[in-house]
């Protein structure tokens, strides 16, 4: 669940608290929205540096578990509002997407070897 990621990796929760019980079944990294729309797996935790409100629409359409904004970037106020409305958690990670993705993958997220 998203809550497990928060607890295990020390992610800050900045929006969408009502969605912390959503199941995380995969992970994905990317910042080009068309690429994300075409490829991000359902139920993923999406790591991105984008913080504008359109990331919530993308997360809803791709049925993601959560958005993790990385690299010390932060969401706009409108993004937080939208995420709260839709119940999509937005978490923060101060280091790179690569750094977090490696940790998540090693812990089993989206890792076929551990399933």
């Amino acid at each position: 669940m998203v809550k497990d990621l928060v607890d295990n990796f020390g992610l800050a929760v900045t929006a969408g608290k009502s969605g912390l019980d959503r199941n995380v079944t995969d992970g994905y990294c990317g910042d080009l929205l068309s690429e994300i729309m075409g490829n991000a797996p359902q139920g993923c935790a999406w790591m991105t540096v984008q913080g504008h409100q359109n990331i919530v629409a993308v997360a809803v359409l791709r049925e993601m578990a959560a958005i993790i904004i990385t690299g010390g970037q932060t969401p706009d106020d409108e993004t937080i509002q939208k995420a709260d409305q839709e119940g999509i958690p937005i978490l923060l990670w101060p280091n790179s997407s690569f750094n977090l993705a490696g940790r998540l993958f090693s812990a089993g997220v989206g890792n076929p070897a551990t399933q």
Partner: protein
Amino acid sequence: MSKFRKSFHIKGRDFIRAGEAAINIQNLLKSMDFDPRLVRRVAICGYESEMNVVMHGGEGSLSLEVDADRLTLEVTDDGPGIEDIDLAMQAGYSTAEDAYREMGFGAGMGLPNMKKNSDRIKIESKRSQGTIVQMIFFLPYGDKAD
């Protein structure tokens, strides 16, 4: 005779509402119990076509039509029109402004994604008059037909 048709307004340059038409259509399709793979394909096409209007067009609409053998997605706008459709269909080609590219838009994958995820696509456009894009999804297939 269509079983069902619903249309959603798109306002150009309105990034606050951008994506809502596509989300509404996705919710409609889910409530009608369509194959999730089909819903995903329509969602991608709906989102990309909506964002094209938000970024480039003036005012427009995104509509869904449900028939016995197909779904039809149609997006129309009164924007600047597409000058060269073949060029616009090329992966990587984009006329998006710099400000949009910084937001992660303008990768030039919108129209290619729409073509990839629909069974048929038809584009009609005239410079300074607007654009109509029609996408057909054959039923009962989940994945792309043929």
